[in-house]
Amino acid sequence: MPTQSDIIQAARFEYGIRPDEARFRGSLLDQLIGEDPLDALVPVESTQARLVELGKLRELRRAMGGDSDAFKKARQRLAVQGAKGAMHSLARMVQNPRGFRERLFAFWLDHFTVSPTRVHEDYMLGAYLEEAIRPHISGRFAELLKAAVSHPSMLYYLDQNASIGPNSVSGQRQERGLNENLAREVLELHTLGVGGPYTQEDVRQFAELLTGLGIGPEGMRFAPNRAEPGAEEILGERYGGARERIEYVYEFLEDLAMMPATARHLARKLVVHFIGPAERPELVAQMAAAYLAANGDLMAFYEVLVADPAAMAANFPKVRPPFEYVATVLRALNFDAETILNASAGDTRKLGQALTAMGQQPFRPDGPDGWPEAAESWITPPQLAARISWVGQTARSYAEDRDPRALMQAVLGDTAPDFLSFAVSGAETKWEGVALLLVSPSVMRR
């Protein structure tokens, strides 16, 4: 039976208890160190390989036309591959004993939200997850920032690929110009925060600095003939010079990563995500100071966060968002990665519909600010109805013979409130008892 601290840790920092799993031996921080065996779960096609595939698709459209069967078939193949990304992530969440690692991955993916709407963006998403985000969640934030901001997925999503310096060679020839979308969101969402020390003029200047950054046939490509000539002054410093180079962009992102406003913004987001909405200025200040002293190493944030008494407090002000909740339920029912990866197209579609009804179409947040954090955002009456309905169907299909009392012991140990024991034991059938357990606040909250 899990101990109380296992259960609190699994609730706040992981995806709940999986009864048939040997719990990870070591601290939360140990989960972040070294290789992750789950990385070998599925071979992931690289950004480069995917761009080559997309290039072939464009070639096919040129040769055969957009209405040809050959083109449609090829595009469909890429769309199917794109959809697999969500199930791959879910399989990792369910299977990984290093749950904190998966939770941090989800946190940083949300921080650097992309929300694909077209087939080519959708197809690229899996490479973004595995190359821009996952390798960087416990290193220097500057590396994560540079990787995310310069990845084709982000360049598509926030229109950077369409932004051209108005006085650049290309801008003059095509009469094209700036698009300030990426510049604004990097300052507002990814680094300084909306209350941070930047102005509209800084957004503009940064947008000029970013010109040239675009997508080539094999990856991010910096095209000097699209870059606005000359240096830009952002937040009081000058970047760039005579020859346009991507290094100037990286230099500014490095500086941004080390600004105190960025440190505070990131610390505050981590606290709100893992602990709760209450203002904790001291914890935020402590985390920010540790991060800056450690040259922007994300591990410094995590060390302070998990050592705070609030980290192991037995009150849970947050509610798991739907995708996270689904993973928690599937773990409680001992699902494994293989079952999820081999799910039929029909089951995959049904799960997507259920998640949408719960308010979270996976990997499709409404805007670049990602998913809401507030508990109230996830438990509106129709959303709660969708959670209860999905759990009912899942329990009926997969837990018809599970003893709900034993399951409650296995996932909640001694922490189950008396009224929950009463309700779970009082259900008319086993699967209804299991469903009641899994829709209880003890499982939904964290």
Partner: protein, 389 residues
């Protein structure tokens, strides 16, 4: 009134919990609905380009600022100065019937950071804080307005769709449901569920409403959530019953890129929603006002990629039989470089909250002084804007 089966189960203390402490026991009265007027508030998320919707083609600068976007051979002339984006041409019969109006060059007090998220929060909380800094626990202005309706009860206001609407959030009860949502279980499970949620108000209040509304779901019309037309048809069905205020969102307005196509797509959703409300409401359309508002407008000049970036002054779209239709309200500031806000955005010449406030006053008899004090604290209501017929 007859007790519902579920309430009976709980009240019969089958579960042994204290009835007085149970948040599942909010009383529901059957008083008459507060008046016959109806208000629908649509939040257009992502910043609608007001200049691309209600086009100031009579201003010489317009075509100059928008070399590719200004051209629209099918745009519909409104008054010799403004023309309607052709993607809304299905609404022109409403314009001619004086059931469609616009407001140009308005905004909330939000300025300068041009963040969607703070801008939307401010639009929904009705706050007076130009910085838009979000404060936790803020209620929505429409929720506070419900507090001024003497006979308001849970069904009076309806949030339509799965997502939470901050606009309606707050202490006053309101309903929330989505087309396509469903919840069914055995009476025993229902009772046990109520017990599990009894000590967690967030869960118990939502579960109670889910059970209540799911039971009525058949009469509320089916269809899936997700497109604005379905949400509007659902809202209309509610408004034909006891609901008087309904709200939902339409997204897709953040047109940094390829605006021609993307704005047309979002406008189509809005147009279909308004027409679905009209057809669903039947005779009640004559007592209805629809107000579609957005967090801010977009840049006067098109950007380098056939789109527009975040701006300040924007437009409102209004429809309904109760409306003083056939007008483009608002004071036009002009598009000259010195007329623009920061030589970039349409200068807002009025606060859009005044339009919302006067609509509440004219439709529901709320006092202007109370509106300025509680619903939109700090707002000077000024003279009646005259949007209700």
């Amino acid at each position: 009134m007859a007790l519902s089966r579920r309430k009976f189960l709980i009240q019969s203390t089958l579960l042994g919990c204290s009835a007085a402490a149970s948040p599942l026991l909010t009383p529901i009265t059957l008083a008459a609905a507060p008046g016959d007027n109806r208000l629908v508030v649509i939040i257009l998320r992502g910043a609608m380009d007001g200049l691309g919707v209600v086009r100031p083609y009579g201003d010489a600068a317009y075509a100059r600022y928008r070399p590719t976007l200004a051209a629209d051979s099918e745009m519909q002339d409104l008054d010799g100065f403004f023309a309607l984006n052709s993607a809304l041409k299905d609404l022109m019969p409403l314009w001619r019937a004086k059931e469609l109006s616009f407001v140009q060059a308005v905004s909330t007090p939000y300025r300068d950071k041009r963040s969607h998220f703070d801008g939307q929060d401010l639009l929904e909380t009705g706050s007076n804080d130009a910085s838009g800094a979000p404060k936790s626990g803020q209620s929505g202005w429409l929720n506070r307005a419900l507090g001024l309706l003497p006979d308001a009860r849970q069904e009076t206001a309806f949030s339509v769709g799965t997502a939470r609407m901050l606009l309606l959030g707050g202490p006053q009860p309101y309903s929330s449901w989505s087309p396509g949502a469903d919840l069914s279980m055995s009476p025993q499970t229902e009772a046990l569920l109520a017990r599990i949620y009894a000590e967690d108000p967030l869960f118990s209040s939502s579960a109670e409403m889910a059970m209540e509304l799911s039971a009525k779901a058949d009469s509320m019309g089916g269809g899936r959530a997700g497109n604005a037309k379905t949400l509007a048809a659902f809202a209309a069905a509610r408004l034909n019953e006891d609901t008087r205020i309904a709200s939902f969102s339409i997204g897709g307005w953040d047109t940094h890129n390829g605006q021609k196509r993307n704005l047309a797509r979002a406008l189509k959703q809005l147009s279909e929603a308004i027409l679905a409300l009209k057809s669903g409401l039947g005779a009640n359309w004559q007592r209805t006002t629809v107000m579609a508002v957005t967090e801010f407008g977009r840049t006067a000049r098109e950007n380098g990629s056939g789109g527009t970036d975040h701006g300040t002054g924007g437009a409102m779209v209004m429809a309904g039989g109760a409306l003083n239709g056939g007008h483009v309200f608002g004071q036009w500031p002009g598009l000259g470089e010195l007329d623009l806000y920061q030589n970039r955005d349409l200068e807002p010449t009025d606060d859009l909250r005044r339009y919302l406030g006067w609509a509440l006053r004219d439709l529901f008899g709320m006092e202007a002084s109370a509106l300025g004090a509680t619903v939109f604290p700090g707002l000077d209501m000024g003279d009646n804007v005259g949007i209700i017929a």
